[in-house]
Structure formats: structure tokens, C-alpha cells
Symmetry: C2
Subunit: 222 residues, 2 copies
């Protein structure tokens, strides 16, 4: 079986991406990051998801980019917004996050001779994040082709973003068909025992389940 | 003064790059990495160089990519070769290293509103490293343009690799003219009180000083 590195955050999108990678015939090596995001619950969930979905391995890379600040997700001085709609780049954007995650995944992929990297980037729901757009993914694929020995040897590591054009409802339907244990996934920005239901991420998720005609198995605060 | 992030390893090339960035009118924010390279001496030297050359700041990011293995520089099970000439990608190649360093520099640059990132990549002496070639740097510049809010807003962070086409002798001459304190730089792969003089990196350095008609101020084992 060819190997793939799968970026796994503990959220709904990356769990679905793992299911798609597996269904495409890859042996999956999951990679999560501790980059100062506010809540360890995401990493606990990522570990449970990797195990439940039969990943070959799960590694966590600690990355102290929180020392730079600049994002509500890594900087305690910036508040995570609730119930706000905006067309601008949200404060939850972590500078160059996907570039950083993909680059480390690329180093890992070279080391274990993986053929592909899977990322759950999505351009529909995260339209404000520049590093979730197809043109960004394509540009990074060029970096992978030109910046690695595999690329130089004519067998570049590919960058797969199978969710990039899907709505949240389409993602949930696809994942449900593939048996993703959504009860293990965590999307809320705010942490706590139950999901808040009001942050951007919770609202997107709830809307997605509603549109898919399915019930979100995760508990919410009333 | 516009700001630049300068990747500073503690070696000769990155110190020269810092001097060029400063001479180009940038306020320099230096970034070093602790990625499991064998010797802390490089990071000590980087700190001294940043201070001696009047950098605005120096940060060290710890990155546990050593857990992946795959390089003689981060994996104790792979020996650093001495006095070997090869056309192949050397075992001292760290998978996707420059992609990883540039991506984190990109996140930092976004956070501090820097206009440029300087990297001491060199295609002449490191011809075996795919991520030291001009086409790689250009591909990464596209990632920076497409994957950041600055790029989306039409003012992309530029990637500057001022040494890319220079020989080691040319780098040393340029740096000497700009007053680089080469006595503070460290190039040896093998560590120790004095440089070994036999690893790839020492040999390149000694050859460069000889061709430049200058004396390397760093002490070597006899």
C-alpha cells in the first residue's frame, strides 16, 4: 500500500479527509500539531480519531509559533469572536498556518517515503483564509515538486485537498458514508466540556449537519 | 525602516545574508531554529551574531522534526560523512528543511508586518540540495503571495536569497566588505571546541576563504 501523510486536527474536516485517504487505498500516517491553540482537547480527539480509524501512526509535532502572537487561536490577548459575520480575514486566522503544516508534513513524507499529503483545506466555508484556496494548494504542490529529492527524481509528493470545493453538508454526507466517527471530532474554538454552539466553527458545523439532514452527535451547551 | 525576517543559522552564509539585509535598509528580525541539529553551538553563535550585528530581535523556534529522522544532522544513527565527494543528495540534507524554515518565517513576517524574508540559500555550493535552487525560492515566493493576507491584499512578502548564485569566495568577500564578524560564525557539522576541517561544510568554508585570499578567523583542529 502506498503511504500518505494526513494532517489531522481533531476536527470534522480532517477526520473526513483521513477517511477519504484511507478509502483511496493509502496507508495513513497522521500528523497533528501543538502550536499553542488554546485547547488540548483537539489533540486528544485527533489521537482518538487516528486510532478509531485504523491509521498506521499518529505523531504530534510541537511548534512554538504561539510566541509570535497574531491570532485569536494562539494569543490569549485576542478574543475569539462569537456570532459575528465578516467578509474580512477573521482574527482566528493563524498566520501562514497551512503553509507551515504542509511544509512539516512534506519533511515527514520525505522521511517515510509517502506518495501524498492529505489536507482538509476548504475554500467554501473558509473563504476568508488565503491558505485554504485551490491556487494556494497548487502553489504549494510546486514547492513540493521543486524542493524535495522525490520531486527532483520525477516522482513528486502530491498535495491532496479532497474537500476543497465541498460545502460542509457535502463533507458530512461523504464522511458519514465512509463511517467517520463524528462523535469523536471537535470543532469548537472555545473549549469546555461541551461545544459552545456560537463561535464561527460551531455555527458552520451545526449548519452543515442541518443541511445534510443529519444529527450532530457532539454535545452542545444549551 | 521596513522590517525583514532573516533566517539565521549561526553559519557563514546566513550571517552574510543578515549583513546584506541590513545594508539594504531593513530592520532585521532574526529567526533561528532548534530542530534537533546535533550541536547547540550553532544557536549560541546565532545569538551572538544577531547581537553583534545590531538585529532588532532574535527568536529561536523549537521544532521537533528530529523525531522523523531521515538526516545525518538530526538522526544520531546516521553518520556525518568526512572527506567524501558526491554528486548525489547528501545524507546531511534535512527533508524539506528550507520549506519548513521559510514557512515559519512567513508566519512570523505576517505577524510583525515584515516586507521581506531573507534566506542564505546557495545553489552553487549546495547543488545537491533541491531546496537551495532558484526555482525552489521562486515557487516559495508564489506560496507567500497566494497563502497570506498580505499577498491577497496585493503587497506580498518577498523572499530574498541574495547569495543564491554566489561562490563561497564571493560570499566571504562581500561579507568582509560589510563587516560580518566571521569569527562568530560556525559551519562545522561535527561540533567540538574547534572546527573539524574535514566535513563537507568545513571544506567548503576553508576553500572559500582560500579562494578569497582571506584567513578564516575560526580555530580548526590541526
Amino acid at each position: 500500500m502506498p503511504r500518505a501523510v494526513v494532517l489531522l486536527s481533531g476536527g470534522l474536516d480532517s477526520a473526513t479527509t483521513l477517511a477519504i485517504a484511507k478509502d483511496s487505498g493509502y496507508e495513513c500516517y497522521c500528523l497533528s500539531f501543538n502550536y499553542g491553540q488554546r485547547h488540548d482537547i483537539e489533540l486528544d480527539k485527533a489521537k482518538q480519531i487516528a486510532s478509531a480509524m485504523g491509521a498506521a501512526s499518529h505523531k504530534v509535532v510541537t511548534l512554538d509559533i504561539g510566541q509570535f502572537g497574531g491570532s485569536a487561536l494562539t494569543d490569549d490577548n485576542i478574543e475569539v469572536p462569537k456570532d459575528v459575520d465578516t467578509e474580512e480575514i477573521p482574527v482566528t486566522y493563524v498566520p501562514a498556518r497551512n503553509t507551515i503544516l504542509l511544509s512539516i508534513a512534506l519533511g515527514y513524507a520525505e522521511t517515510i517515503d509517502a506518495k501524498a499529503i492529505f489536507i482538509g483545506a476548504n475554500a467554501v466555508d473558509y473563504s476568508g483564509y488565503p491558505d485554504c484556496r485551490p491556487e494556494f494548494i497548487q502553489a504549494f504542490a510546486e514547492v513540493a515538486r521543486l524542493g524535495t529529492k522525490e520531486g527532483v527524481e520525477g516522482r513528486p509528493i502530491t498535495i491532496e485537498a479532497p474537500l476543497i470545493d465541498l460545502t460542509k453538508a457535502e463533507i458530512i454526507k461523504k464522511g458519514t458514508a465512509l463511517g467517520v466517527p463524528y462523535e469523536l471530532t471537535w470543532s469548537c474554538y472555545s473549549g469546555g466540556e461541551k461545544a459552545c454552539g456560537h463561535c464561527d466553527s460551531c455555527r458552520l458545523r451545526l449548519k452543515g449537519f442541518a443541511e445534510a439532514g443529519l444529527k450532530d452527535p457532539v454535545p452542545y451547551e444549551v
